[in-house]
């Protein structure tokens, strides 16, 4: 049926580039094989623990991912005419902003190992955002 395989992203001697702003080499990925259908790596990070617990965080992750895709497309279109135009620079700046926001969220989940909404949801458990994301 479904088998869970956990393996480290890093090979034995090779280390992932160590940037202060990106998750370290300890990221684990899990892949599910269920009837030959492969689930994306992004989703399965939650299975490892320290992932998004609340619906609100999950929504933000999704929203940011979609924005990245959308804004990259927009930037490419805007810059087709003139790469040095203000519009072009602003468009790529937006791409950078949302890419960084997504990375920060991911980093927070990795490093803090708890959901950023934790303290908010303790005081507001009834809101939509604080529904617990169940696997």
């Amino acid at each position: 049926m479904a088998t869970l395989r956990l393996h480290s992203l890093t090979a034995t001697s090779e280390k992932i580039p160590t940037s202060p702003f990106v998750p370290s080499s300890r990221v684990l990925s899990a892949s599910f094989h269920c009837n030959e259908k492969r689930v994306s790596r992004r989703m399965t990070i939650n299975a490892v623990g320290g992932g998004a617990k609340y619906k609100g965080t999950q929504m933000r992750e999704k929203q940011l991912s979609e924005m990245i895709e959308k804004k990259v497309t927009e930037a490419k279109q805007v810059c087709e005419g003139d790469e040095t135009s203000d519009e072009c620079r602003v468009a790529w700046d937006e791409v950078e902003e949302v890419s960084q926001a997504k990375a920060n969220l991911r980093l927070r989940l990795e490093v803090e190992k708890k959901d950023p909404l934790e303290s908010f949801c303790l005081e507001n458990p009834e809101t939509e955002e604080c529904k617990v994301y169940d696997d």
């Binding site: 090779e14 280390k15 992932i16 580039p17 160590t18 940037s19 202060p20 702003f21 990106v22 998750p23 370290s24 300890r26 790596r41 992004r42 609100g56 933000r60 929203q63 940011l64 991912s65 990245i68 895709e69 959308k70 804004k71 990259v72 497309t73 930037a75 490419k76 810059c79 790469e83 203000d86 519009e87 072009c88 620079r89 602003v90 468009a91 790529w92 700046d93 937006e94 791409v95 950078e96 902003e97 949302v98 890419s99 960084q100 926001a101 997504k102 990375a103 920060n104 980093l107 927070r108 490093v111 950023p116 909404l117 303290s119 908010f120 303790l122 005081e123 507001n124 955002e129």
Partner: protein, 408 residues
């Protein structure tokens, strides 16, 4: 007997702000009583109707640190290392706006300067300015609020929401012992610069920036090598014009470059990190290797210490940087084992550690943080200890002054 003027604010359904008393009202002779009441009546996101009555002396002890870098406000690792040096974990304000960029621990509060954007995402698009452009930021407000916090007065600081791209209702920030302002422009405005007790600039070279952004973004749908490259290129003119020039004002610059240990390495995996420390900064004594003021080149790996490829290389020496005298400590390579780290620590001087092995201990505490095996983690940790030392010196000198005054 000391008389303390009390400022009260009305709190209806709006957030209240406290006016700044002029510094001349207070002298260091007076005791200061702080009457402080907050009403946490709201659980609404972003809306706070708290009321603060503060009375503070002009010589309040908030130490202000500025940190400049181009990676959003998630310099989590640097901030976490810094707050960890003081003890305690930094967390977002409890119960407030979940998209707040602020981090608070016992001793420190970290403010993201993006909160001082005068234009939100839509506004910037309309005006055709990037977030890097000074025109997108309200330096008057930044100055007022940092000044207020430094004087011991709480402020209602706006929140820039990076998810929605909008400016959210403000959050209350109480004056901490140590205030860190991080972002793109901590040293851009001269008035803000003058408020900083210490400033750091994180200078990432283009090659390393490219390698890091590839690692950061390649997993995202929508991104490709081309889009990552295009984004960096497009932001470069504004970055060079507005952000980069700030490094001349920094007391410490952490420069991150590709390694020189591996010929033709373009993967950005092994890093060469330089800690450029300005000489003559009050309360700050640069770290040195072996002999202060001399020029040293040191490869610790050899008979006593075995390192794996590509090893570790240190250098230290005096230099000039934008016309200032500086001392530069440089590390190229990476740590693979604990004993390498402690060996290196034992040969560095002026670390401002409280006990032997404190740097190693701090690095181990956060071994899972990015940069823990190279100069970025090492120098961030060292800068954290230097800031602690600076804070203690400033605090000691401030408490000493009133005693002297009463003796006179």
């Amino acid at each position: 007997m000391a008389v303390c003027p009390v400022y009260t604010t009305q709190s209806l359904n709006s957030t209240c702000s406290v006016s700044t008393p002029s510094k001349t009202h207070f002298s260091s002779h007076h005791n200061h009583l702080v009457f402080y009441r907050t009403s946490k009546r709201t659980s609404k996101r972003g809306g706070s109707s708290s009321c603060v009555i503060t009375c503070s002396a002009g010589d309040s002890q908030t130490v202000v640190i500025g940190l400049a870098a181009d990676s959003g406000c998630g310099k989590s690792t640097f901030m976490r290392r810094l707050t960890s040096v003081f003890g305690g974990a930094a967390e977002p304000p409890k119960g407030g706006n979940p998209d707040s960029n602020t981090l608070i621990s016992d001793m420190t509060t970290v403010i993201c300067l993006d909160d001082y954007h005068s234009l939100d995402r839509t506004g910037r698009k309309e005006k055709g300015v990037t977030a890097l452009d000074p025109r997108a930021n309200d330096f008057d407000l930044m100055y007022e609020q940092v000044k207020a916090l430094k004087s011991g007065i709480a402020v209602d600081k706006p929140i820039y929401n990076h998810v929605s791209g909008l400016l959210d209702p403000p959050e209350l920030i109480k004056p901490p012992k140590i205030l860190v302002i991080e972002g793109l422009h901590p040293m851009f405005d001269e008035r803000v610069r003058d408020l900083l007790d210490f400033s750091i600039y994180l200078d990432i070279s283009n090659e390393v920036k490219f390698a890091w952004k590839i690692q950061r973004d390649m997993a995202e749908r929508g991104h490709s090598l081309e889009s990552i490259k295009a984004s960096i290129e497009a932001r470069k003119p504004d970055f060079d014009a507005f952000i980069d020039p700030q490094k001349q004002y920094a007391d410490a610059v952490i420069e991150v470059l590709p390694t020189q240990l591996i010929p033709d390495d373009n993967e950005g995996k092994v890093l060469r990190v330089r800690l450029i420390m300005k000489e003559g900064v009050e309360h700050f004594s640069p770290v040195y290797l072996f002999d202060e003021g001399s020029t040293i080149s040191w490869i610790p790996c050899g008979r006593k210490l075995t390192c794996s490829y590509p090893g570790i290389k240190f250098s230290y020496g005096p230099d000039t940087y934008f016309g200032h005298e500086v001392s530069v400590l440089e590390m190229d390579g990476q740590f693979d084992r604990l004993d390498e780290l402690i060996y290196v620590e034992s040969h560095l001087s002026n670390l401002s550690t409280k006990f032997y092995g404190e740097v190693t201990q701090q690095m181990l505490k956060h071994a899972d943080f990015p940069g823990s095996n190279n100069g970025t983690g090492l120098f961030q940790t060292i800068v954290g200890l230097k800031i602690r030392d600076l804070y203690e010196q400033i605090t000691a000198s401030k408490t000493a002054a009133p005693l002297q005054a009463t003796k006179a």
